[in-house]
Structure formats: structure tokens, C-alpha cells
């Protein structure tokens, strides 16, 4: 198993009645709610938590990109990754990622990711999400129906910029450049491993498998809903005649570990803050018409995700989220068992652990991280030991 510590960097000071008073946590939550002084403290706490995770033995540290979002304060995860390269030396730096269609020209992503790869000495993993409807369509004004085509073209340009050793011209539909010639080029040959976060679109499965990238299902719906998505992905891998390898996929799971099962209500508030406030997003923002194809909608996977969110948003309390598998909580023994079952059911080799969520304070986060690393991680580490990953920085595997 590759165990990665994932941070969303949420704003932890939304008002008590936020979800009644405001339309959404994302896209149109007014930024007068953000206190920059609190923000300074949060950013530094969050970086401390990521660095602590390396110390505790996590294989990778993950950050991601969101725009106009009170639960994800990283419009540029590259800046956070950059800060992490200086204070870490062993963990992979995983940016999940940059939404390629939003960068003009997209060589900017090739350049910044190459910088991170060089700066970290080849510890870098490049994430290329299509980007959510909220971030791309509503945040950055992209036209939904052409987003994927623009993304695909930007991807081809970035890969070519990473691998060509002479300047070249690029005549695309969305980007035209007389010269492409990035300095620096990536540390890793031919380029950093690529991971693709997705949300159940058939097009992302096809594309990820075709390019032999890692497919990551980064949802907060937990492993029970996640199984539908991962099952679909594995069926597609099989259908395309590719050999099964658990490291071909990744999954994000919220986990909260207490010393004993009876202590888990210490996480109650953070769980409710996360699901009630952080995920307070009207369906319209998540589903711009044209963002998902009719083919994907008709497959039922996206519909199921939307339905599960709607159901949960209404009257769930924190224990309901636990029962639904959104969060795995308990003593180390309980968490080991449930997590191992989830890993086997989903057949994933890359696990992204969200151990900080909502307004969890630093001391609780560090405790959760330490308990997980010492009391849970060793028991699930070897689940896929008969497989090898080809999606991890080679520099680190040689070391």
C-alpha cells in the first residue's frame, strides 16, 4: 500500500448558522467571512500537520486545487507543495492537481510542475484533474461542453513540453504557441507519474486507462459509495484487456482514530462541520449542463453520487455519516478492520487519508495522525505486497 496524507486546508471559522444563512460554501460564499489573520494561523498549522505526517512515515503528502472555496483554501496547491519540498525529504509531494484547462497557456503547469520536481529532487507526482464544475465552470467561467476537449489538448501540450528536448511549435484549437521550450524540464524521466482525480465520468475512466495513469476517486462519500465508482473503473480496465494492478487506482477516505471505541465522539463536531458546512453546495453548481456527458449520466454512476449527497445533506447527524462509511472512526483495532475491508473491496493500492477535516484543531489532528500511523498503518501496509507500483517517483523507489 501507498499511504498518503491528504489535506484540504479548510477554513475552520464559518459561522454557526452558515448553511442556513448562505447559499453555498463554494463559488459564492462571500469572502468577508474570511479573516486573514486566522488564515495565517491555519496555513501554518496545516503545513505543520503535513510535515508531521512525513515524520510519522506516510509515503506521500497530497494537496489539491479549489477556487472560491471555504473548505479548500488552495487556489494554487503548487505554492503549498513548494513550501513542503523545503521541509521534507522522504515523502512524495503529490499535487492533485492542476486543472489543465484553466491555465493560459497550459505550459504554465508544465513549468511549475517541472520546478516542483526539480526542487524536490524527483519526489513529485503530477495530478491532472478535469476540475469540478464549481471550480472550472462557475469559478473560472469555462464553457462546460468544451472543457474536456480543452483539457485533453492541454494535457497533450504539457506532456510534449516535458518530453521534447528541442523547442517546438504548437498549433492547437485552444492554445497556439510559436515556441514551446520549458526551463527547467522535469527531474524524472520521462516525466513525473500522473494521477487523475475523477468523479465517475466514463470519459475519465477511458482516458486514464488509455494513458496508463492512476485513477483517483476523491470523494467524501466514503467507501460504500466509492465501491460503485471503483467497480466501474476496474470493469473498464478489464474490458480494455489491461492487467489488474491495485496501484492503478487511488481512493480518499476520512478516518478518525481514538484510543478506544467509546472515545470517538471527540470527533463529532469536526465531522458535522465538514459534512454540514464544508459540503454545503447546491446541486446546480456541481452539475453545470454539459459538464457531464449524457453517456456518463445514463451510466447512472454520477446520478448515484448526486443522490447519495442529497440524501445525506438533509438530516444526517455525525453517527449517520459513520454508518454510511463517509468516515471510518474507532479504536485502532476497529479502524484497522474496517479500513482493511474497504481496501480489499475497492481493490485500491493508493490510499489517501483525510485525517484533518472541518474545523479540527491542530492537537487533535496530530493525535489522529500519530495513532493512525503507529496503530493502523502497519496493519494494512502489506495488503497488496504481491504487486508493484509503476506510478510512484522512480527516484524514490531506487533509493
Amino acid at each position: 500500500m501507498k499511504m498518503c496524507f491528504f489535506h484540504l486546508m479548510p477554513y475552520g471559522y464559518l459561522p454557526e448558522d452558515f448553511s442556513n444563512q448562505y447559499h453555498s460554501v463554494w463559488v459564492d460564499a462571500p469572502n468577508h467571512l474570511f479573516d486573514p489573520k486566522k488564515g495565517t494561523q491555519l496555513y501554518n498549522d496545516y503545513l505543520d500537520e503535513l510535515e508531521f505526517a512525513e515524520e510519522m512515515g506516510f509515503d506521500g503528502l497530497c494537496v489539491n486545487e479549489h477556487h472560491y472555496n471555504a473548505y479548500g483554501l488552495m487556489p494554487s496547491p503548487n505554492l503549498m507543495a513548494s513550501a513542503m519540498t523545503r521541509r521534507t525529504s522522504k515523502a512524495a509531494i503529490i499535487v492533485l492537481g492542476n486543472s489543465l484547462a484553466l491555465y493560459n497557456p497550459p505550459v504554465r503547469v508544465a513549468e511549475e510542475f517541472a520546478m516542483l520536481d526539480v526542487l524536490s529532487g524527483g519526489r513529485f507526482v503530477a495530478g491532472f484533474p478535469l476540475g469540478t464544475s464549481q471550480d472550472t465552470v462557475f469559478g473560472y467561467g469555462e464553457v462546460p461542453v468544451t472543457l474536456r476537449e480543452k483539457y485533453n489538448e492541454a494535457h497533450d501540450l504539457v506532456i510534449k513540453a516535458w518530453t521534447e528536448r528541442e523547442p517546438f511549435a504548437f498549433n492547437g484549437k485552444y492554445t497556439q504557441l510559436r515556441y514551446v521550450n520549458i526551463w527547467p524540464r522535469p527531474y524524472q524521466e520521462p516525466h513525473p507519474p500522473v494521477w487523475v482525480p475523477g468523479s465517475g465520468s466514463l470519459e475519465t475512466w477511458d482516458w486514464t486507462i488509455e494513458h496508463d495513469y492512476v485513477y483517483c476517486y476523491l470523494s467524501y462519500s466514503g467507501y460504500k459509495v466509492g465501491k460503485t465508482v471503483l467497480d466501474g473503473f476496474w470493469e473498464e480496465v478489464d474490458r480494455q484487456g489491461k492487467e489488474f494492478n491495485p496501484y492503478h487506482a487511488g481512493f480518499l477516505q476520512l478516518v478518525a482514530v481514538s484510543e478506544t471505541d467509546s472515545q470517538v465522539d471527540e470527533y463529532k463536531d469536526y465531522i458535522e462541520y465538514f459534512f454540514k458546512k464544508c459540503l454545503h453546495v447546491p446541486g446546480g453548481f456541481a452539475n453545470a449542463p454539459g459538464y457531464r456527458t449524457l453517456r456518463s449520466i445514463n451510466s447512472g454512476v454520477s446520478t448515484q453520487i448526486v443522490e447519495s449527497r442529497r440524501e445525506q445533506a438533509t438530516d444526517f447527524n455525525w453517527m449517520d455519516y459513520v454508518k454510511a462509511g463517509n468516515v471510518i472512526v474507532g479504536s485502532p483495532e476497529s479502524v484497522r478492520e474496517e479500513l482493511a475491508q474497504a481496501i480489499r473491496e475497492l481493490r485500491v493500492g493508493n490510499l489517501m487519508l483525510l485525517l484533518h477535516f472541518g474545523d479540527m484543531p491542530k492537537d487533535i489532528t496530530l493525535k489522529n495522525t500519530e495513532l493512525f500511523a503507529k496503530e493502523v498503518m502497519p496493519y494494512v501496509r502489506d495488503i497488496w505486497s504481491e504487486y508493484e507500483t509503476r506510478w510512484w517517483p522512480k527516484t524514490m523507489m531506487d533509493a
Binding site: V137, G283, G284, N287, P289, G290, L294
Partner: protein, 265 residues
């Protein structure tokens, strides 16, 4: 008695596009281009107009069985496509009417190729932007929010049938194929800001033009009528009280009567 319209399927550019066009009536040709949300296809107000005109109501590519949206990259492509469609229908010139997205297309056609347009009717057209009266964000709306935008607040005087309203509601279920299909094309040409430069070209419109608006339109506020009137030389504005964005469904007889009278000159 009105006859149901016949359906024409027109192949263009060796099969790149297939246009589904509804046609009914007799008299001078009138091309009606539908809007993005809440109405497409045929409706009673078109029956009324078909009593005096030969009404052609094409589905815009991406709607119903009209194909080729993926080949239309921008508003210029979209405009040329519709001029090409008039050629394919054998129409050297015609009256043009359009609602919302269709209104924007009609105005662009009249600006680009004035010779194709005898008279122009724009009903709550898209195509302009005001910071002080933003066009509502129809891409993000759920069913209830869209209903609020589409219809006038009061029920008095509305000719809209329960079916019209149910269809508009159904189309707004977030992942319903109807909503996705209807708004995908609209998103391509109206998102994020439905200003694609018409204001720079509108001066070229030569056709006598009538701009119609529902006083209660909350999708595109009626204040835009003044902007269209200012930009289109010699145009005239008429605002309908107690009508919303779907004025042609809400007050079909009055609207059809006004349009017919104007087209007769």
C-alpha cells in the same frame, strides 16, 4: 382549425449537420428560433402565426434531433450555420423572430447578412450584458429557481398550460437528459457572460426591428430592451405587463397578434 406542423430533416455540409425543422402555414416565410430554457419546438403562438405566414421553426444544433453542435465553435459559426440553413430551405430572405438564445442568433444574422432578413422580431433576446442588471445564472439554477425566473409572478392572464410548466420543471431536474441537452448548447454560446460582441455589430442591422419583452422577466430583465433599442437603428420596443421570460407561452394570442401586425408592416 390548425394543422400540426410537418417535420423537415435537412442535411447540410455532407452530413456534418442535420437540421430538424418544423414547418406549418401559408404566406410570407417567417423563421422562428427558439430560446435556451423552457420552450423549444412548436407552441400555440406559432399556430397563430401560421395562419398568416409560412412558419419555419428549426431546432438549434444540440436540441431535439438537430446535430452538429460540436462543429460550431463560436457565435460566428452559429450565425453562418443559420444563414446556410435558410439557403438550404430555399429562403432568399425571410422574416426572422427569435427568443433569448434564438433572439441573439437572429440579431447576429441580421447584422452579418442584412439581405437575408425582411423584418426582425426579438423576444427577450440574449446577447448583451449590464453589470447593474445581470442576466440570471440559469446554468446553476434548480427547478424552483428557474420557475421563478421563467414565469411572471402573478398567474393572471397566463396562457401557459400545465404541460408547459411541467415540461419546464422536468427539464430542470439536475441530471435529467432534458436539462443537460437544453442547456448544453446555451452554455456554449451564452456562458459565462452572454455578450459575444453583438453590441459592436448591431449597427449593421437594416431590417425594421421590433423588440418585445415581458415586464416581469427575471431571467433577462426588461431594462435590456432599451439597450437593444439604442443599438438597432430605428427599432421599436413593446413591453408586456404581467408576462415573464416565456411571454410567448404566457400571452400567446397577444404576442402572436403583435408580431403579425408588425410583420405585415
Amino acid at each position: 382549425m390548425t394543422m400540426p406542423p410537418e417535420t423537415l430533416n435537412i442535411d447540410m455540409q455532407n452530413g456534418m449537420f442535420r437540421a430538424e425543422v418544423l414547418r406549418a402555414g401559408q404566406g410570407a416565410p417567417l423563421v422562428y428560433l427558439h430560446g435556451a430554457a423552457g420552450h423549444k419546438g412548436w407552441a400555440p403562438f406559432l399556430d397563430r402565426l401560421a395562419e398568416q405566414f409560412t412558419v419555419y421553426a428549426p431546432y438549434i444544433p444540440g436540441y431535439s434531433n438537430s446535430t452538429g453542435l460540436e462543429y460550431l465553435e463560436d457565435v460566428l459559426d452559429l450565425t453562418l450555420y443559420h444563414l446556410e440553413l435558410m439557403d438550404a430551405l430555399g429562403l432568399e430572405s425571410a422574416h426572422l423572430a427569435g427568443h433569448f438564445l434564438g433572439g441573439m442568433i437572429a440579431a447576429e444574422m441580421a447584422a452579418l447578412s442584412p439581405g437575408y432578413v425582411d423584418r426582425l422580431v426579438l423576444v427577450a433576446p440574449a446577447g448583451l450584458w449590464r453589470d447593474d442588471a445581470p442576466v440570471a445564472d440559469f446554468l446553476a439554477m434548480n427547478s424552483a429557481e428557474l420557475q421563478e425566473c421563467l414565469w411572471a409572478g402573478g398567474s393572471g392572464g397566463s396562457d401557459a398550460t400545465a404541460e408547459d410548466i411541467a415540461a419546464a420543471e422536468r427539464a430542470m431536474e439536475l441530471l435529467s437528459p432534458e436539462r443537460v441537452q437544453d442547456l448544453t448548447a446555451a452554455g456554449k454560446f451564452l456562458w459565462p457572460i452572454p455578450d459575444r460582441g453583438l453590441k459592436r455589430r448591431a449597427y449593421r442591422i437594416k431590417a425594421p426591428s421590433l423588440v418585445l419583452w415581458g415586464q416581469e422577466d427575471r431571467l433577462v430583465p426588461p431594462v435590456y430592451a432599451d439597450d437593444f433599442a439604442r443599438l438597432i437603428p430605428g427599432s421599436r420596443v413593446e413591453v408586456f405587463p404581467n408576462a415573464g421570460h416565456l411571454v410567448m407561452l404566457e400571452q400567446s394570442d397577444t404576442l402572436a397578434g403583435t408580431i403579425a401586425e408588425f410583420l405585415k408592416g
